[in-house]
């Protein structure tokens, strides 16, 4: 049996089943959680040294590396794609589990599963008419388009945020395709350096566009403000995981990008602008979702700056930062979703003092958000501190500016904390449900555990590095 067909077929069948059962949101949520969690565990534990394995529950033998060729594209599971698949499934499972507590509309689960299927397909592509890494922006256009339907998740939201998601991949794909042609010409004229330089410049600009640094960043805070928090966290993390994997494949396949251009410098400045703007805008954000979005933007800027660091040390740190980012974003989303539900869409009167009635969810939101800006004793502190040390080796001034921006974001969270834990205005605000308090407590414990023992992530990161080693 063909493994890629089995994986995609299973996800398609589950998507169809959840669509037919979409009126039963709790049942579809549980089904999606169980299936994606099971697939994540299987991906994580699969041993590629044995080419033929028996599938659990089914008992059928399957060839792990058997390819699936359709329409000129080859889908095949490789050792490098396993951590990406496991990470994608794990994020999806966590998000489906967290979304069980709040209503996300009947279409959320099937549409999110369809999107996850798309990301799995992207990770499995091993060959195509041109290099898969250079075709990826086209697939990201399709996945970003599907994300628009998932963002609505049962509520009417403004269209600007989801709409802006489409712009970076659409603007970047011509650069990737034209650079693919130049790359194909390099072996024909190896002494012509202009071909290599042109390809490197086009790819550099294309990657920068895809990363959506400031001023192309506006999709993230806009969607964080209007879309359900857990949906925002899931879609943002899935997109950025696929993006990081794509960038590594491009840089490792075409190393002349960093040699023929000042790609590192552009990435540093793009990351700096993003981190600074995220921190400054967070200081002035009055909406909890928007504040969270700007904090996530600041964290993304730090990741971009670490990406710019040459050498083999940067990718473990990038993966470490991304893992901490995922934990922080999901922790904040847990608390934010309950605050949103109880405050009837963040109405100012209801938000004032809501922390006195919902202390655990408020604490989860604050702790997760502070983890995105590297506040001490939060999940992101160790990662941000290591990143600043790495950046400061070349230029301490840049690291100081980023720290100031982080401080600015912390100021925004202090204002928010005063609002949440201040005098309550609406005395009829209900106390938080014990189950939701447990959810928030688990998120807080996860963040605190990583703050105290970041080495818990070393094992998964080393495993993921195999993906980023080809």
């Amino acid at each position: 049996m063909n493994l890629p067909l089995l994986i995609i077929g299973t996800l398609f069948v589950i998507t169809l089943a959840t669509f037919l059962l979409r009126s039963r949101e709790l049942i579809t949520g549980i089904i999606a959680t169980v299936v994606t969690a099971g697939m994540a565990i299987w991906f994580w534990r699969v041993d590629m040294s044995q080419p033929v394995q028996q599938l659990p529950l089914v008992g059928t033998d399957v060839a792990l590396t058997s390819p699936l060729v359709r329409f000129g594209f080859t889908l095949q599971m490789t050792a490098g794609s396993i951590p990406i698949l496991a990470g994608t499934m794990g994020l999806a499972a966590l998000s489906f589990f967290l979304s069980l507590r709040t209503e996300h509309g009947s279409g959320f689960v099937p549409s999110a599963l369809a999107l996850v299927t798309g990301y799995v397909g992207l990770a499995l592509i091993s060959a195509g008419p041109i290099a898969p890494a250079l075709l990826a922006p086209l697939f990201l256009i399709g996945l970003s388009s599907m994300s628009i339907f998932v963002f609505h998740a049962g509520r009417p939201i403004r269209s600007e945020g989801p709409l802006r998601l489409l712009i970076p991949p659409v603007l970047s794909f011509p650069l990737f395709l034209i650079s693919a042609w130049y790359i194909a010409q390099i072996p024909l004229n190896p002494q012509d350096v202009s071909t290599t330089q042109t390809a490197a410049q086009l790819l550099s600009i294309g990657i920068l566009l895809l990363l959506a640094p400031a001023p192309l960043h506006s999709a993230l805070p806009d969607t964080a403000q209007v879309a359900p928090p857990i949906v925002t966290a899931l879609l943002t993390l899935l997109y950025q995981l696929a993006l990081l994997h794509l960038i590594f494949r491009i840089i490792s396949s075409f190393p002349f990008i960093t040699q023929e251009t000042t790609f590192g410098l552009w990435l540093t400045w793009a990351g700096l602008a993003t981190a600074v703007w995220g921190g400054v805008a967070a200081a002035g954000a009055a909406h909890p979702g928007r504040l969270w979005g700007y904090a996530a933007l600041h964290d993304w800027g730090v990741i971009l700056m670490v990406l710019a660091v040459p050498g083999v040390t940067s990718w473990p740190l990038v993966l470490f930062l991304y893992s901490l980012r995922a934990v922080s974003m999901l922790t904040a989303a847990v608390g934010l979703s309950m605050l949103e539900a109880e405050s009837n869409g963040f109405e100012p009167e209801r938000l004032q003092g809501i922390g006195t009635r919902m202390p655990w969810n408020s604490a989860a939101y604050l702790l997760g958000g502070l983890g995105l800006v590297g506040f001490p004793l939060s999940a992101g502190f160790t990662g941000h501190w290591a990143a600043m040390q790495t950046v400061a080796i070349d230029d301490w001034l840049i690291a100081a500016v980023v720290l100031l921006a982080a401080g600015s974001a912390v100021f925004g969270y202090i204002r928010m904390a005063r609002l949440l834990f201040g005098p309550i205005v609406v005395p009829t605000t209900l106390r938080e449900n014990p189950l939701s308090a447990i959810y928030a407590l688990v998120g807080i414990l996860a963040s605190a555990s990583l703050a105290l023992a970041p080495q818990l992530l070393y094992g998964p990161i080393n495993r993921a590095l195999s993906a980023f080693s080809g």
Partner: protein, 314 residues
Amino acid sequence: MSLVFSLLNFLATGPGMLITGFFAILMILAWEWRVSLIGLILIQVGIAPIAIFLQGIDAQWVTVQTLVIILCSLILALSTTQIAGSPTSRQAGNWPLRLMVVILLYVSWRLFQFDIAIPLIDSRVSVLFNWLFICALVILSLSDNPLFTGSALILWFIPMHVVVATLFPFSSLIVLFGFLELILALCCSYLILAERLGESEQVTIATDVTFPNTVGPRQLIDRSGNERTELLPNDRTTMDLLAVPLVPELRERQAKLPPQDAPPTVKSDQITVSQPPSPSDTTQRLRAVQPKDRTGEHPLVATLSKGKRAKKPK
């Protein structure tokens, strides 16, 4: 369709390319959804002879691409026709501003001799494609709604189809292109329709049985997209509407009032038109009406139907 493109082969000449480029300017200047969507089709029809006769692309592929663009425009047009009066149909600035933008764009184009060479693409065609790319970027920068952003993104795809078909003549890639264009159009169409989901009707809260509620669409005031369920000071309720008491009820009230507060007596064939209550006076509801007058009728309606002012008592 190949015959149609053969008839239009003048568009593959210099003046023809100028006409195609002019359509892109027209999309920016007019900033009207009909002009934008028809402009997309006209630009694609203008690009098609270039692709076939200058770039040597298979006519079948160009035909499919043209049909896809027509379909995309139809999808967007169908959604736009259903949302009359929405933010999507609003103009970005005014036409003098957009004219200045176009003039500035052209002056910069000539001043900086902006020309990015595209491999395997004729130099004249490359100039046209660069112009279309820039026009798409201008539309993206001026718009923040699904319709015009979608038009700009599809405009971005039109010349790239020719480039990709020239550089990589693989049918799977062309199919993927068309698929993505349709997906983009569907997504933007969905967002156009979804803009209306946020509109809520201003419903007068029923607190008394009087007249039908006053309803009308209005835009969201809640930026998070949630409808309001609580009263605000400016909300109107049925208590704010003028109530017309029944005659027996009025007689009882008049009997309870002190003599100095009692309304003036009237004759049987006269009605007393009292001063209308002030907007802030929600408690003054009494009207002096004749027994023979119709009850349950708004005083204004009664006044208009009588067609005369009340005469002062002698």
